[in-house]
Point group: C2
Chain length 394, copies 2
């Protein structure tokens, strides 16, 4: 028997793994995953970009590279957030990571000692819960409403835990709820971070996939003194399989994250980095993202239509302006897993809300994904879901 460290989760705690496995049966219409639509991947363009990368930099891309990532890619990230988010930074403020999941892991490792308080949204991205727990964090949830994280609730929590190290937030089209935090709250989050010397980890994988409404500036754009680390990724705009993300922070923070990055995997794969640089030079990423957004917007609307048509009236759902997920609240349900199992029998699946809560879960909640579902399957799936929900709502 191996004596695992206290960081390793106990057996049988991989609830989401079991759920995704159960939902993988091809008979099942599964809204459980979190995948982009593969039919929009620019395969030909990326193949051409990879060829270019080999022609121009064959030996460099096969050799060891720098821990911070390709300067061209870090420069691109700076220009990108300058245009999109009004964030001013230089290449030295950027670390390229093996997907933004690694940025989450490195920031957790850099800041969290066992017992340190980390604030998360209620509910929050479930892998963030795993990461922070693996470094011994004491997780404290901050309440949300339809406008995302409530800043009055954040202030209350900070009064109780003024020593809190970190706030993790997904301000745009949050995973799992699809909610977006409005501008005045973002400004307030930046103020509270400065006041309480709190680091904010702003994770923005979905912000560019907007199909309705107006862009809201990043929390980092209100940051005066280095209290916000901003995470970006190519996973939703280009190719999640390439595992390319980045984190933007003060030079001091980036230097420390780089030391940890070297221990984690030395540097991010050069092939994916060089290929992506060539893709960005030869193609119009913004136009590609517009195409993605249009498709997801169409699918989300079909999902909302199906919810209106088939779900009992008392069931509530969010109606996001972008991203990949929406969130459902079914009143009167005590055991969400029982509903999930009943749905599986009816060949439809979702992710039950429980694993998205760092604390006590709100029963009767679940997440639906619409980005990775053929249009003709959405209505069929929601009809099945509605049939099951009708048995639970009285």
């Amino acid at each position: 028997m191996v004596k695992f460290s206290s960081r390793v989760p106990a057996d049988g705690t991989d609830a989401v793994g079991s759920i995704l496995k159960a939902a993988a049966d091809p008979k099942i219409i599964s809204f459980a995953g979190g995948l982009p639509a593969p039919e929009l991947f620019p395969v030909k363009e990326m193949e051409a970009a990879t060829d270019q990368a080999f022609e121009k930099h064959g030996r460099e891309l096969m050799q060891y590279g720098g821990a911070k990532g390709l300067p061209e890619l870090r420069q691109w990230a700076c220009q990108h957030v300058a245009e999109k988010e009004n964030i001013r930074c230089e290449a030295d403020n950027v670390l390229i990571t093996t997907g933004s999941e690694q940025a989450l892991d490195l920031v957790g490792k850099a800041l969290v000692d066992p017992g340190d308080v980390v604030l998360v949204e209620q509910p929050t991205y479930l892998c963030a819960v795993d990461v922070f727990k693996s470094y011994g964090a004491k997780l404290v949830s901050v309440a949300m409403d339809d406008d995302g994280l409530r800043t009055d609730a954040l202030e209350d929590v900070l009064k109780k835990y003024p020593e809190a190290k970190l706030l993790y937030t997904v301000p745009n089209f949050q995973n799992p709820t699809g909610r977006t935090i409005p501008e005045e709250r973002r400004q307030r989050i930046a103020e509270l971070a400065a006041q309480y010397d709190l680091m904010v980890l702003e994770d923005n994988p979905y912000g560019e996939i907007r199909f309705a409404g107006e862009h809201v500036p990043a929390i980092k754009s209100f940051d005066q003194d280095g209290h916000v680390c901003y995470m970006g990724t190519f996973s939703k705009t280009l190719a999640p399989g390439f595992r390319l993300g980045w984190v933007m922070a003060t030079k001091e923070m980036i230097d420390k994250l780089t030391v940890l990055k070297q221990s984690a995997d030395l540097h991010t794969d050069n092939l994916a980095q060089y290929a992506t640089v060539e893709y960005l030079q030869a193609n119009d990423l913004a136009a590609h993202v517009k195409e993605i957004s249009a498709l997801y917007g169409k699918r989300k609307q079909l999902m909302i239509d199906g919810i209106n048509k088939y779900f009992p009236d008392k069931v509530k759902s969010t109606d996001p302006d972008g991203g990949m997920f929406l969130w459902v609240e079914v009143p009167g349900v005590d055991d969400t897993i029982a509903v999930f199992k009943e749905c599986l029998k009816n060949n439809v699946a979702f992710v039950p809300g429980d694993p998205f809560y760092a604390g006590q879960p709100q029963p009767g909640t679940f997440r639906l994904n619409y980005s990775n579902m053929a249009e003709d399957q959405i209505e069929v799936g929601l009809k099945r879901l509605g049939t099951v929900l009708a048995k639970y709502v009285h």
Copy 2:
């Protein structure tokens, strides 16, 4: 001021970073790096393999993949170690990692709680020291001789620390010394691991780059009951820039490492994985590795010749049968860094021995790399080195 966790090294402790920076001046002949020879990278073949991967699996390789890595690659690793090392395993015993550095990090994270004893060779791979320290390990060094890790010393250490969690060893052409552990010692290490319920982390990046002598079976081939985790990599045989490694262990261990892998970066880059699978199908990796070994053997011999010609007689060095490094011991030197600085002034560089020691460093030691140095530069560099060393040896 950010309050970093206790895992983050203090400022000014990145000795190796400073050394490599100092040695990067193009005037300097630097034996400090640890890079493969880029002129042997199979750039054309890998470009063709990448095209094949896009043609066959364009959408899959851009989409999210499984945390354990491509089944084809895990299967290949099983066949490879079955043929080379007489290790029997199945794809479920293999996790593909983002370079073998990540395997080191995940095994450290999975096993080491703060205060746990981890045994390392004296001297050892310096990044391993960083990884284990980052999880709070108490590092204990085990003495070596010309035949690598001394098993009598290991037994003494285990009597003193019977609770030791892990032994980290590089049995073939060790980094930094170039030493190789003979078969009977490997068998003894496996016995002691079983007796003391110790996990052995056998790291084998260099074993295939053999230019003299006979292959020695892996420690894992003597493992009866899951006390050895075996690490392999494509970094020295194919392309370090792709960041592709693997770890082989019991299914229980692999399942736990997979949970941690998901928190670390979800999965390893699909582009590099699919391209490598295509490369392995279309090319003869063994023939390519033979070519690498022949070149490194030639360079090592030039280095040995230069040492014999230019170094003072009292200076000792190892004479490896493979790998990329050899190890020099200069008697009578107290301050290796002073020698290093003097060498820089003479436009030649190495890595001083100090950072390779988890405990008290042995003064007057340093590492020389021969894999990444043009033949005509080796003699020139060693002549410069010899001139400086002559001032220190009396």
